[in-house]
């Protein structure tokens, strides 16, 4: 046990792990975090607290993670390489550990030109940092935890005990390099991996097999990312625009059919598509968990947190295991 986090305990117990996502608000009010934490609590082993996702300023991941933890939801704090240099990163890691946070997901972060894909102003003129990349950040966390050393070599009296995570986009270009990309992160010390949203399970399976052949999957817990589809339009958009996401046509057709079944009734169309989306999600979860080496799922119900309870129950993943701390 490296961190003693609930997520780590569940993974080590051999049960399929479930993580969800909680996006902090663009406001100084903690209410939304508290509210979402109560919706997710009990239906996942830990929830990612995004770190200024799509390069939009929100309550910081560490602060929001602390609030979620206070409400009884185990957080996975996220740390992007976009906004901090190695000094700020390590200072925040020490601070986060001092606050009792136990999981950290290392990510590159969306480029600041993103600004919520043009929906918000964002800060396209901001200077990004990228002092270190994700693989290097993973290495820094491991060195801090296991060697009690800062990146620069100075001693840490009480090291931060994090369960170290990273992300993987198995179907991103250049696809044949992606298994090696994963290997580098795992070799650097990533103990759990959350993937980009997967709809094409066959392709995912073949990428997992390549990773397994490199001996990667025995050294990390791979959690397959599932983005809960809400509408046919959303699936089409993701297929065309989201990096590393391909949606097989039969899935888009199923959602389109659900929409058509409602005729002109828009409310009904929304309801039928959401129901179909949940069905699809449950199927994807089952398919993912059958892939050798997959140790759990990371379910993203974007702006639809109540769906997690329904999905987890329908997938037979409820109640979540209660593995007592040592």
């Amino acid at each position: 046990m490296k961190s003693g986090s609930n997520l780590e305990r569940v993974i080590l117990s051999g049960n399929p792990a479930v993580t969800a996502e909680l996006g902090p608000p663009m406001s100084a009010a903690p209410d939304e975090i508290v509210h979402k934490a109560h919706i997710l609590k009990g239906f996942c082993d830990a929830a990612n607290i995004t770190d200024c996702q799509t390069a939009v300023v929100r309550i910081s991941s560490i602060a929001a993670a602390f609030i979620a933890q206070r409400e009884g939801l185990e957080p996975v704090m996220q740390m992007t390489c976009r906004d901090r240099n190695r000094i700020a990163m390590q200072a925040d890691l020490l601070g986060a550990a001092a606050l009792g946070l136990k999981n950290c997901l290392c990510i590159a972060g969306d480029h600041q030109k993103f600004g919520a894909a043009g929906k918000l102003k964002g800060h396209p003129g901001a200077k990004n940092v990228y002092d270190v990349d994700t693989t290097q950040l993973v290495g820094i966390l491991k060195k801090m935890r296991d060697e009690s050393l800062q990146e620069g070599g100075d001693k840490i009296e009480v090291p931060p005990k994090f369960f170290i995570g990273a992300t993987w986009t198995p179907m991103g270009d250049p696809m044949d390099f992606r298994p090696y990309n994963l290997k580098k992160k795992v070799d650097a010390g990533a103990e759990f991996i959350q993937t980009q949203g997967i709809y094409d399970m066959e392709l995912f399976k073949s990428q997992c097999e390549k990773a397994r052949n490199l001996g990667v999957l025995e050294n990390t817990a791979l959690l397959a990312g599932i983005i809960v589809p809400k509408s046919a339009m959303m699936l089409k958009y993701m297929d065309a625009n989201v990096s590393g996401v391909t949606v097989p046509k039969p899935l888009i057709d199923r959602m389109a059919k659900a929409k058509e079944a409602a005729g002109d009734d828009k409310k009904k169309a929304k309801q039928l598509q959401e129901e179909e989306g949940i069905k699809i999600t449950v199927e994807l979860i089952h398919q993912a968990l059958e892939i050798p080496g997959v140790k759990g799922v990371h379910i993203q119900a974007i702006d639809w947190e109540p769906a997690i309870e329904i999905i987890v129950k329908a997938a037979g993943l409820y109640p979540r295991p209660n593995i007592p701390a040592e």
Binding site: R82, A108, D110, D131, T135, G139, D173, D187, G244
Partner: protein, 237 residues
């Protein structure tokens, strides 16, 4: 080479409108190649400023000139008397020229006529692309001759992020993903396995993060100093 772009005439007018005697001074090396600040562009800029001054009804004397390289004093110092007769110099060199002229020609303001953009290549006439970040610690032997420092929008050293889409970068469908190019290039060269090694955190101290950089080639610098001393002694004699 160093690639620059002319500042908009509005901005130039804003910085120059209160001066009476102006010299627009070009540089005939890099910025001439990118059609931004050579002798010809300095002359055109001077004309535009004269037109603007006439439109505003302001009396101004605007001259123009150029030298081969504004990054070395020996090329622009022969014009020192001309500079001294001005109120301001508008240098259309890169920022290096502006800095050096400022430090060498006395209490004369030297203003930038260009925005110095990047170290670039000219893959075809009229096209300039950023390909080197001047980070002071080159890794091109590890990345198939494709710079991850400036050609990757996130300067990643260990491979692509999750933002690659059809070989393009997440910031724009017009921008190639450097890591896509690197992987494809390394495959062709048969050296892909070089990318499997984890690159440790980079020492950015050799880049701008380490403060202003300076390189001294001692035996040459000493030789120059000796010759200067000799010249001074001879003059004294």
């Amino acid at each position: 080479m160093i690639v620059g772009q002319q500042k908009p005439i509005e901005e130039l007018w804003g910085m120059l409108k209160d001066f009476k005697k102006i010299m627009v001074f070009g540089c005939n090396t890099c910025v001439a190649v990118c059609h931004a600040g050579g002798a010809k562009e300095a002359e055109i800029t001077a004309s535009l400023l004269r037109i603007r001054a006439a439109e505003e009804g302001v009396e101004m004397n605007i001259e123009h000139g150029a030298c081969e390289r504004q990054c070395e004093p020996e090329f622009f110092m022969p014009s020192i008397e001309k500079f001294k007769a001005q109120d301001v110099i508008l240098s259309t060199a890169c920022g290096v020229g502006v800095n050096l002229m400022s430090s060498q020609i006395g209490d004369m303001p030297v203003y930038p006529g260009l925005n110095t953009s990047f170290y670039g290549a000219v893959p075809q006439a009229g096209v300039f692309t950023e390909v080197c970040g001047g980070c002071g610690n080159c890794v091109l032997h590890l990345t198939g001759g494709i710079c991850p420092i400036v050609r990757c929008s996130k300067s990643l050293l260990n491979g692509p992020c999750g933002g690659t889409n059809n070989g393009k970068c997440e910031i724009s469908s017009e921008v190639d993903c450097a890591w896509y190019l690197i992987v494809e290039r390394m495959k062709k060269l048969g050296t892909l396995e070089k990318l499997f090694e984890i690159q440790p955190p980079k020492n950015w101290g050799t880049a701008t993060a380490g403060g202003p950089r300076k390189i001294v080639i001692e035996h040459i610098a000493e030789l120059e100093e000796k010759e200067e001393n000799k010249a001074t002694v001879e003059v004294k004699k």
